[in-house]
Symmetry: C2
Subunit: 160 residues, 2 copies
DNA sequence: GAAAACTGCTTGTAAACTGCAAGTGGAATG
DNA sequence: CATTCCACTTGCAGTTTACAAGCAGTTTTC
Protein backbone atom coordinates (compact mmCIF):
# COMPACT_ATOMS: atom_id res chain seq x y z
CA UNK A 1 0.00 0.00 0.00
CA UNK A 2 1.60 3.18 -1.16
CA UNK A 3 0.65 6.10 1.02
CA UNK A 4 0.70 9.68 -0.18
CA UNK A 5 2.19 10.99 3.06
CA UNK A 6 2.67 10.11 6.71
CA UNK A 7 0.27 12.77 7.95
CA UNK A 8 -2.36 11.19 10.24
CA UNK A 9 -5.20 13.17 8.70
CA UNK A 10 -4.10 12.24 5.19
CA UNK A 11 -3.83 8.58 6.16
CA UNK A 12 -7.32 8.68 7.64
CA UNK A 13 -8.59 10.25 4.43
CA UNK A 14 -6.88 7.57 2.36
CA UNK A 15 -8.69 4.88 4.34
CA UNK A 16 -12.07 6.55 4.84
CA UNK A 17 -12.17 9.28 2.20
CA UNK A 18 -14.67 8.10 -0.33
CA UNK A 19 -18.43 8.31 -0.75
CA UNK A 20 -19.33 5.00 0.89
CA UNK A 21 -16.88 3.66 3.48
CA UNK A 22 -18.10 5.79 6.39
CA UNK A 23 -21.71 5.22 5.41
CA UNK A 24 -21.26 1.45 5.51
CA UNK A 25 -19.46 1.69 8.85
CA UNK A 26 -22.27 3.90 10.16
CA UNK A 27 -24.85 1.23 9.21
CA UNK A 28 -22.91 -1.54 10.93
CA UNK A 29 -22.22 0.65 13.96
CA UNK A 30 -25.53 2.42 14.54
CA UNK A 31 -27.90 0.12 12.69
CA UNK A 32 -26.27 -3.07 13.88
CA UNK A 33 -26.63 -4.51 10.39
CA UNK A 34 -24.28 -7.43 10.27
CA UNK A 35 -24.81 -9.21 6.95
CA UNK A 36 -24.57 -8.23 3.31
CA UNK A 37 -28.31 -8.60 2.87
CA UNK A 38 -29.15 -6.46 5.90
CA UNK A 39 -26.75 -3.77 4.81
CA UNK A 40 -28.15 -3.77 1.30
CA UNK A 41 -31.83 -3.90 2.27
CA UNK A 42 -31.56 -1.21 4.95
CA UNK A 43 -29.32 1.18 3.09
CA UNK A 44 -30.90 4.62 3.42
CA UNK A 45 -28.79 5.88 0.54
CA UNK A 46 -29.41 2.86 -1.69
CA UNK A 47 -25.92 1.48 -2.04
CA UNK A 48 -25.33 -0.57 -5.19
CA UNK A 49 -24.54 -4.23 -4.68
CA UNK A 50 -21.13 -4.14 -6.30
CA UNK A 51 -20.12 -1.08 -4.27
CA UNK A 52 -21.23 -2.75 -1.05
CA UNK A 53 -19.30 -5.93 -1.88
CA UNK A 54 -16.23 -3.90 -2.80
CA UNK A 55 -16.40 -1.71 0.29
CA UNK A 56 -16.77 -4.68 2.64
CA UNK A 57 -13.73 -6.24 1.00
CA UNK A 58 -11.71 -3.05 1.35
CA UNK A 59 -12.77 -2.49 4.95
CA UNK A 60 -11.61 -6.03 5.71
CA UNK A 61 -8.29 -5.40 3.99
CA UNK A 62 -7.84 -2.18 5.98
CA UNK A 63 -8.55 -4.03 9.21
CA UNK A 64 -11.80 -2.26 10.09
CA UNK A 65 -14.11 -5.21 9.64
CA UNK A 66 -13.88 -8.99 10.04
CA UNK A 67 -16.05 -11.70 8.53
CA UNK A 68 -17.25 -14.83 10.28
CA UNK A 69 -19.67 -17.63 9.50
CA UNK A 70 -23.17 -17.63 10.92
CA UNK A 71 -23.62 -20.88 12.90
CA UNK A 72 -26.83 -22.51 11.69
CA UNK A 73 -27.06 -20.58 8.45
CA UNK A 74 -24.14 -21.71 6.41
CA UNK A 75 -24.33 -19.28 3.55
CA UNK A 76 -24.61 -16.19 5.71
CA UNK A 77 -21.55 -14.16 6.59
CA UNK A 78 -21.55 -11.98 9.70
CA UNK A 79 -19.45 -8.85 9.60
CA UNK A 80 -18.02 -7.42 12.78
CA UNK A 81 -16.23 -4.21 13.63
CA UNK A 82 -12.67 -4.37 14.90
CA UNK A 83 -11.31 -2.25 17.72
CA UNK A 84 -9.91 0.05 15.03
CA UNK A 85 -13.40 0.68 13.69
CA UNK A 86 -14.92 1.04 17.15
CA UNK A 87 -12.30 3.72 17.80
CA UNK A 88 -13.99 5.74 15.06
CA UNK A 89 -16.96 6.46 17.33
CA UNK A 90 -15.62 9.91 18.31
CA UNK A 91 -15.09 10.73 14.64
CA UNK A 92 -18.66 9.68 13.87
CA UNK A 93 -19.92 11.77 16.79
CA UNK A 94 -18.16 14.91 15.55
CA UNK A 95 -19.09 14.30 11.94
CA UNK A 96 -22.72 13.76 12.89
CA UNK A 97 -22.80 16.88 15.04
CA UNK A 98 -21.24 18.94 12.27
CA UNK A 99 -23.62 17.64 9.64
CA UNK A 100 -26.62 18.20 11.89
CA UNK A 101 -25.55 21.79 12.52
CA UNK A 102 -24.47 22.92 9.08
CA UNK A 103 -26.17 20.70 6.53
CA UNK A 104 -29.84 20.13 5.72
CA UNK A 105 -30.23 17.05 7.88
CA UNK A 106 -33.66 15.69 8.67
CA UNK A 107 -34.77 16.36 12.26
CA UNK A 108 -35.51 12.70 13.02
CA UNK A 109 -32.12 11.49 11.87
CA UNK A 110 -30.38 14.42 13.53
CA UNK A 111 -31.92 13.47 16.87
CA UNK A 112 -29.51 10.57 17.25
CA UNK A 113 -26.50 12.65 16.30
CA UNK A 114 -27.49 15.42 18.70
CA UNK A 115 -28.19 13.00 21.54
CA UNK A 116 -24.82 11.37 21.03
CA UNK A 117 -22.99 14.69 20.84
CA UNK A 118 -24.72 16.00 23.95
CA UNK A 119 -23.90 12.81 25.80
CA UNK A 120 -20.25 13.84 25.58
CA UNK A 121 -17.21 11.57 25.82
CA UNK A 122 -18.86 9.53 28.56
CA UNK A 123 -21.69 8.46 26.27
CA UNK A 124 -19.22 7.76 23.48
CA UNK A 125 -17.21 5.54 25.83
CA UNK A 126 -20.34 3.66 26.85
CA UNK A 127 -21.27 3.22 23.21
CA UNK A 128 -17.84 1.86 22.43
CA UNK A 129 -18.22 -0.60 25.31
CA UNK A 130 -21.55 -1.71 23.85
CA UNK A 131 -19.97 -2.17 20.42
CA UNK A 132 -17.18 -4.25 21.98
CA UNK A 133 -19.90 -6.47 23.41
CA UNK A 134 -21.79 -6.78 20.13
CA UNK A 135 -18.77 -7.23 17.86
CA UNK A 136 -15.89 -8.51 19.92
CA UNK A 137 -17.58 -10.71 22.49
CA UNK A 138 -16.85 -8.45 25.48
CA UNK A 139 -19.23 -8.68 28.46
CA UNK A 140 -22.53 -6.87 28.07
CA UNK A 141 -22.35 -3.43 29.64
CA UNK A 142 -25.13 -2.10 31.83
CA UNK A 143 -26.05 0.74 29.51
CA UNK A 144 -27.39 0.40 25.99
CA UNK A 145 -26.57 3.57 24.08
CA UNK A 146 -28.11 2.05 20.95
CA UNK A 147 -31.43 1.78 22.78
CA UNK A 148 -31.12 5.36 23.95
CA UNK A 149 -30.40 6.58 20.45
CA UNK A 150 -33.36 4.65 19.15
CA UNK A 151 -35.54 6.25 21.80
CA UNK A 152 -34.28 9.69 20.78
CA UNK A 153 -35.10 8.89 17.16
CA UNK A 154 -38.56 7.60 18.01
CA UNK A 155 -39.30 10.67 20.10
CA UNK A 156 -38.24 12.97 17.26
CA UNK A 157 -40.23 10.97 14.72
CA UNK A 158 -43.40 11.24 16.85
CA UNK A 159 -43.44 15.01 16.88
CA UNK A 160 -45.27 16.42 13.86
CA UNK B 1 -28.04 19.67 -4.97
CA UNK B 2 -29.67 16.28 -4.66
CA UNK B 3 -28.78 14.59 -1.44
CA UNK B 4 -28.81 10.84 -1.00
CA UNK B 5 -30.41 11.06 2.45
CA UNK B 6 -30.99 13.42 5.33
CA UNK B 7 -28.66 11.58 7.69
CA UNK B 8 -26.10 14.00 9.16
CA UNK B 9 -23.23 11.56 8.72
CA UNK B 10 -24.21 10.89 5.13
CA UNK B 11 -24.46 14.61 4.40
CA UNK B 12 -21.03 15.18 5.89
CA UNK B 13 -19.67 12.39 3.74
CA UNK B 14 -21.30 13.90 0.66
CA UNK B 15 -19.53 17.19 1.34
CA UNK B 16 -16.19 15.92 2.63
CA UNK B 17 -16.03 12.33 1.42
CA UNK B 18 -13.42 12.33 -1.26
CA UNK B 19 -9.68 12.01 -1.42
CA UNK B 20 -8.80 15.70 -1.31
CA UNK B 21 -11.34 17.99 0.35
CA UNK B 22 -10.23 17.35 3.92
CA UNK B 23 -6.57 17.47 2.91
CA UNK B 24 -7.01 20.91 1.36
CA UNK B 25 -8.90 22.11 4.42
CA UNK B 26 -6.15 20.72 6.65
CA UNK B 27 -3.55 22.72 4.73
CA UNK B 28 -5.52 25.95 5.01
CA UNK B 29 -6.31 25.29 8.65
CA UNK B 30 -3.03 23.98 10.05
CA UNK B 31 -0.58 25.25 7.46
CA UNK B 32 -2.25 28.64 7.10
CA UNK B 33 -1.76 28.42 3.35
CA UNK B 34 -4.08 30.98 1.89
CA UNK B 35 -3.46 31.13 -1.88
CA UNK B 36 -3.62 28.66 -4.72
CA UNK B 37 0.14 28.84 -5.17
CA UNK B 38 0.91 28.25 -1.49
CA UNK B 39 -1.48 25.32 -1.37
CA UNK B 40 0.03 23.80 -4.47
CA UNK B 41 3.68 24.38 -3.56
CA UNK B 42 3.33 23.13 0.03
CA UNK B 43 1.13 20.15 -0.67
CA UNK B 44 2.68 17.22 1.16
CA UNK B 45 0.67 14.82 -0.95
CA UNK B 46 1.36 16.58 -4.26
CA UNK B 47 -2.12 17.65 -5.27
CA UNK B 48 -2.65 18.10 -9.01
CA UNK B 49 -3.46 21.63 -10.17
CA UNK B 50 -6.81 20.81 -11.70
CA UNK B 51 -7.90 18.93 -8.59
CA UNK B 52 -6.84 21.83 -6.38
CA UNK B 53 -8.72 24.32 -8.54
CA UNK B 54 -11.77 22.07 -8.61
CA UNK B 55 -11.71 21.43 -4.88
CA UNK B 56 -11.38 25.13 -4.03
CA UNK B 57 -14.35 25.81 -6.26
CA UNK B 58 -16.40 23.07 -4.66
CA UNK B 59 -15.45 24.13 -1.13
CA UNK B 60 -16.62 27.63 -2.00
CA UNK B 61 -19.89 26.28 -3.39
CA UNK B 62 -20.42 24.25 -0.23
CA UNK B 63 -19.80 27.32 1.92
CA UNK B 64 -16.61 26.14 3.58
CA UNK B 65 -14.25 28.62 1.97
CA UNK B 66 -14.50 32.18 0.69
CA UNK B 67 -12.28 33.98 -1.79
CA UNK B 68 -11.13 37.57 -1.54
CA UNK B 69 -8.70 39.74 -3.46
CA UNK B 70 -5.21 40.39 -2.17
CA UNK B 71 -4.82 44.18 -1.84
CA UNK B 72 -1.62 45.15 -3.64
CA UNK B 73 -1.36 41.94 -5.65
CA UNK B 74 -4.30 41.99 -7.93
CA UNK B 75 -4.03 38.57 -9.46
CA UNK B 76 -3.69 36.79 -6.15
CA UNK B 77 -6.77 35.34 -4.47
CA UNK B 78 -6.81 34.80 -0.73
CA UNK B 79 -8.92 31.92 0.52
CA UNK B 80 -10.45 32.03 3.98
CA UNK B 81 -12.26 29.48 6.07
CA UNK B 82 -15.86 30.13 7.01
CA UNK B 83 -17.33 29.43 10.44
CA UNK B 84 -18.65 26.19 8.94
CA UNK B 85 -15.12 25.07 8.13
CA UNK B 86 -13.71 26.24 11.46
CA UNK B 87 -16.38 24.09 13.11
CA UNK B 88 -14.62 21.11 11.56
CA UNK B 89 -11.73 21.46 14.02
CA UNK B 90 -13.13 18.76 16.35
CA UNK B 91 -13.53 16.43 13.38
CA UNK B 92 -9.92 17.09 12.37
CA UNK B 93 -8.77 16.45 15.95
CA UNK B 94 -10.52 13.09 16.11
CA UNK B 95 -9.47 12.07 12.63
CA UNK B 96 -5.86 12.99 13.37
CA UNK B 97 -5.89 11.12 16.66
CA UNK B 98 -7.36 8.06 14.99
CA UNK B 99 -4.86 8.12 12.14
CA UNK B 100 -1.95 8.60 14.53
CA UNK B 101 -3.08 5.61 16.60
CA UNK B 102 -4.07 3.09 13.95
CA UNK B 103 -2.24 4.02 10.75
CA UNK B 104 1.46 4.20 9.91
CA UNK B 105 1.78 7.93 10.54
CA UNK B 106 5.20 9.53 10.79
CA UNK B 107 6.17 10.49 14.36
CA UNK B 108 6.90 14.14 13.50
CA UNK B 109 3.56 14.69 11.81
CA UNK B 110 1.77 12.75 14.52
CA UNK B 111 3.19 15.07 17.17
CA UNK B 112 0.79 17.83 16.17
CA UNK B 113 -2.20 15.52 16.10
CA UNK B 114 -1.31 14.06 19.49
CA UNK B 115 -0.68 17.49 21.04
CA UNK B 116 -4.03 18.69 19.76
CA UNK B 117 -5.87 15.61 20.97
CA UNK B 118 -4.25 15.79 24.40
CA UNK B 119 -5.11 19.47 24.64
CA UNK B 120 -8.75 18.42 24.76
CA UNK B 121 -11.79 20.53 23.91
CA UNK B 122 -10.21 23.59 25.54
CA UNK B 123 -7.31 23.59 23.12
CA UNK B 124 -9.68 22.98 20.21
CA UNK B 125 -11.75 25.98 21.29
CA UNK B 126 -8.64 28.14 21.51
CA UNK B 127 -7.58 26.97 18.07
CA UNK B 128 -10.98 27.83 16.67
CA UNK B 129 -10.70 31.31 18.21
CA UNK B 130 -7.30 31.70 16.53
CA UNK B 131 -8.76 30.62 13.19
CA UNK B 132 -11.58 33.14 13.59
CA UNK B 133 -8.91 35.77 14.01
CA UNK B 134 -6.91 34.66 10.99
CA UNK B 135 -9.84 34.05 8.66
CA UNK B 136 -12.80 36.07 9.87
CA UNK B 137 -11.18 39.18 11.31
CA UNK B 138 -12.01 38.41 14.92
CA UNK B 139 -9.74 39.92 17.59
CA UNK B 140 -6.43 38.19 18.12
CA UNK B 141 -6.69 35.74 21.01
CA UNK B 142 -4.01 35.53 23.66
CA UNK B 143 -3.00 31.99 22.85
CA UNK B 144 -1.55 30.76 19.56
CA UNK B 145 -2.32 27.09 19.18
CA UNK B 146 -0.66 27.10 15.77
CA UNK B 147 2.61 28.17 17.40
CA UNK B 148 2.22 25.44 20.01
CA UNK B 149 1.60 22.80 17.35
CA UNK B 150 4.62 23.99 15.45
CA UNK B 151 6.71 23.74 18.61
CA UNK B 152 5.46 20.18 19.14
CA UNK B 153 6.39 19.34 15.55
CA UNK B 154 9.86 20.91 15.88
CA UNK B 155 10.49 19.05 19.13
CA UNK B 156 9.51 15.74 17.53
CA UNK B 157 11.61 16.45 14.45
CA UNK B 158 14.69 17.15 16.58
CA UNK B 159 14.69 13.77 18.29
CA UNK B 160 16.58 11.16 16.28
C1' DG C 1 -37.91 -34.24 -3.54
C1' DA C 2 -38.87 -30.49 -6.88
C1' DA C 3 -39.66 -25.64 -7.03
C1' DA C 4 -39.10 -21.27 -5.17
C1' DA C 5 -36.77 -18.00 -2.58
C1' DC C 6 -32.77 -16.43 -0.12
C1' DT C 7 -27.86 -15.03 0.13
C1' DG C 8 -23.74 -13.08 -1.29
C1' DC C 9 -21.86 -11.82 -4.52
C1' DT C 10 -19.91 -11.07 -10.11
C1' DT C 11 -20.33 -9.16 -14.75
C1' DG C 12 -21.40 -5.64 -18.28
C1' DT C 13 -21.89 -1.04 -19.60
C1' DA C 14 -22.08 3.87 -19.38
C1' DA C 15 -21.11 7.93 -16.93
C1' DA C 16 -18.41 10.53 -13.71
C1' DC C 17 -14.19 11.47 -11.36
C1' DT C 18 -8.95 11.51 -10.94
C1' DG C 19 -4.16 12.30 -12.24
C1' DC C 20 -0.76 13.95 -15.23
C1' DA C 21 1.16 17.07 -18.62
C1' DA C 22 0.76 20.95 -21.13
C1' DG C 23 -1.10 25.44 -22.23
C1' DT C 24 -3.30 30.25 -21.48
C1' DG C 25 -3.78 34.99 -20.43
C1' DG C 26 -3.19 38.74 -17.47
C1' DA C 27 0.14 40.86 -13.62
C1' DA C 28 4.27 41.92 -11.65
C1' DT C 29 9.37 42.17 -12.12
C1' DG C 30 13.74 43.49 -13.89
C1' DC D 1 9.40 45.19 -23.04
C1' DA D 2 10.95 40.53 -22.23
C1' DT D 3 10.68 37.30 -18.47
C1' DT D 4 8.79 35.27 -14.76
C1' DC D 5 4.80 34.73 -11.66
C1' DC D 6 0.10 33.45 -10.82
C1' DA D 7 -4.18 31.16 -11.08
C1' DC D 8 -6.09 28.52 -13.32
C1' DT D 9 -7.98 25.58 -17.96
C1' DT D 10 -7.72 21.90 -21.35
C1' DG D 11 -6.91 17.25 -23.23
C1' DC D 12 -6.54 12.70 -22.43
C1' DA D 13 -5.92 8.14 -20.32
C1' DG D 14 -7.08 5.49 -16.47
C1' DT D 15 -9.95 4.54 -12.39
C1' DT D 16 -14.18 4.64 -9.78
C1' DT D 17 -19.18 4.78 -9.56
C1' DA D 18 -24.02 3.75 -10.71
C1' DC D 19 -27.33 0.93 -12.44
C1' DA D 20 -29.06 -3.39 -14.18
C1' DA D 21 -28.72 -8.08 -14.81
C1' DG D 22 -27.07 -12.66 -13.82
C1' DC D 23 -25.41 -16.66 -11.09
C1' DA D 24 -24.12 -20.47 -7.94
C1' DG D 25 -24.78 -22.50 -3.69
C1' DT D 26 -28.45 -22.91 0.54
C1' DT D 27 -32.25 -23.08 2.76
C1' DT D 28 -37.34 -23.09 2.91
C1' DT D 29 -41.86 -24.41 1.03
C1' DC D 30 -45.11 -27.37 -0.72
Amino acid sequence: MDRRSGCPINLSVEVLGDRWSLVVLRDIMFGNFRTYGELHANSLEGIATNILANRLKRLMEEGLVTASADPGHKQRTIYSLTEMAIALVPVMVQLGAWGAQFLPASPELSARAIALAEGGPHMADDFMAELRHLHLGAPRPGRSVLAELDAAYQAAAQKP
